[in-house]
Amino acid sequence: MKRFALLLALAWAFIAPAAHAQSTLDDIIKRGTLIVGISLGTPPYGITNAQMEPDGYDVGLAKLLARDLGVKLQIVDTVAANRIPSLTSNKVDIVISSFSITSERAKAIAFTDTVYVDQQVAVSPEAVKLTKLADLKGKRVGVTRASTNDIVATRLAPEGTVIQRYDDDASTSQAMLAGQVDAIVTSRALAVAIRDRNPAMKLTVQFVVSQAPMAIGLRRGDADLLHWLNTAIFMLWTNRDLQPLQEKWFGAALDDLPRY
């Protein structure tokens, strides 16, 4: 009898995930909660505001999606390196966390249409002469570990560039302010904010390293949820819900969101 119960438990362990696998969209509606992974240490996408509540562009978008689904929003603070594991291990329904689309990442998870297109720019004090990628040779360049600026800098920087990786954007910028690195690669929105915050450093946005289209990440093979999210993004853009968010957090709204 005991052995039978054990077998049953084992069988259930295999059946349960299968029964679960229909569509995350149904799960979200049935549960009444949308669980979103967002890094709250990535300004201006995810931050904590003066009331110590989650805020930022990604948080604003998550709130709009929860509103349209008619469910409550639950935010799970997810550091950049854990975005994909959080999805594949079912810890969250979707990830909205300055998540740049790359074909490499798309092997593990699925991306929706873009929700924002950021630029990765090289920033340094005025005195450091940088005009193009090749100038990075021999320089110490700070990036945020496992983020898009890490990926593009690692791929595009010429041989001889010393890339130093930090855990979050505040540390990366601090490394430049403290003279630990000569330049950093970061998103334009953040670069402008750091420059305005530290006028004495005479920081300059030197050149654009790459474009970074960002999307919502979800588990592969969930066509239903993917379709709903793309529909929602399209309608949020058409109804001008997204543009004010972009103006608020990036200073200006994009002319259009690329779709594919």
């Binding site: 603070d77 854990n82 910028s173």
Partner: protein
């Protein structure tokens, strides 16, 4: 876009420090029980128990705590268990503390001269009372300094739980640093909180060590009388 580091942020850090304390307390309690069990298994003379305990200690001491936390959180999810970050961190830190306490205490237990056990056996005591009344009381004192040292280490190691999104003191510090972009004052404050948590523990260790010296003196005196 950025806020200035202010009293609100300090309160936020203080609230997160409570989670650091809670996580440390859970890991300590679990580690004490687990460590006691492992130490007993190692000296029990039972081959399977001793072998299991040794294997466990090798695995836990031979892998980084960061990886253990990652496995407890994401690994458990792949095995079909949905564990919240607090539970995953508590389990990982408990296992980690158990392994280290187990080894420390085994060392303290085996450091009690073998003759004491033999003498107790010769007097007709059973293994249970020998352990309880002869060996453990003498092993407690030398085990205190390394134990407290490790407790301090454990409190600071709870910071690693931030990788699985558990909002303790260090993760709260990262959040505030990224909301203010003033990492230096923020992390100095975080360091201050850790110091406030750990310094009393160091004082406790010092005080207990002082008491241990008294214990040693009394012991030598007694030995003199016995001789």
């Amino acid at each position: 876009m950025f806020q200035t580091f202010n009293a609100n942020h300090v309160m936020f850090l203080a609230a997160a420090a409570e989670w650091t304390v809670a996580l440390s307390a859970i890991a300590l309690l679990g580690g004490f029980l687990g460590g006691a069990a492992l130490a007993w298994m190692r000296i029990s003379g039972l081959r399977w128990a001793s072998g299991f305990a040794q294997g466990f200690v090798y695995v836990v001491q031979g892998t980084p705590l960061l990886v253990q936390l990652f496995l407890a959180y994401f690994g458990a999810a792949f095995a079909g268990l949905d564990v919240p970050p607090l539970a995953a961190a508590a389990v990982a830190l408990t296992l980690y503390a158990s392994a280290f306490f187990g080894e420390m205490w085994r060392g303290a237990l085996t450091a009690v001269p073998r003759g004491q056990r033999d003498a107790a056996r010769a007097l007709g005591l059973r293994e249970g009372p020998i352990l309880r009344k002869i060996v453990i009381p003498q092993a407690i004192l030398p085990a205190i300094p390394p134990t407290i040292g490790f407790v301090v280490h454990l409190v600071k190691n709870t910071a690693l739980a931030s990788v699985i999104g558990f909002r303790e003191l260090t993760r709260a510090g990262q959040l505030v640093a990224n909301a203010t972009f003033e990492p230096l004052p923020v992390f100095l404050t975080v360091a201050g909180f850790y110091f406030l948590l750990c310094y009393p523990l160091s004082l406790l260790a010092q005080w207990l060590e002082g008491r241990m010296q008294i214990g040693v003196k009394i012991n030598t005196k007694n030995e003199g009388v016995l001789q």
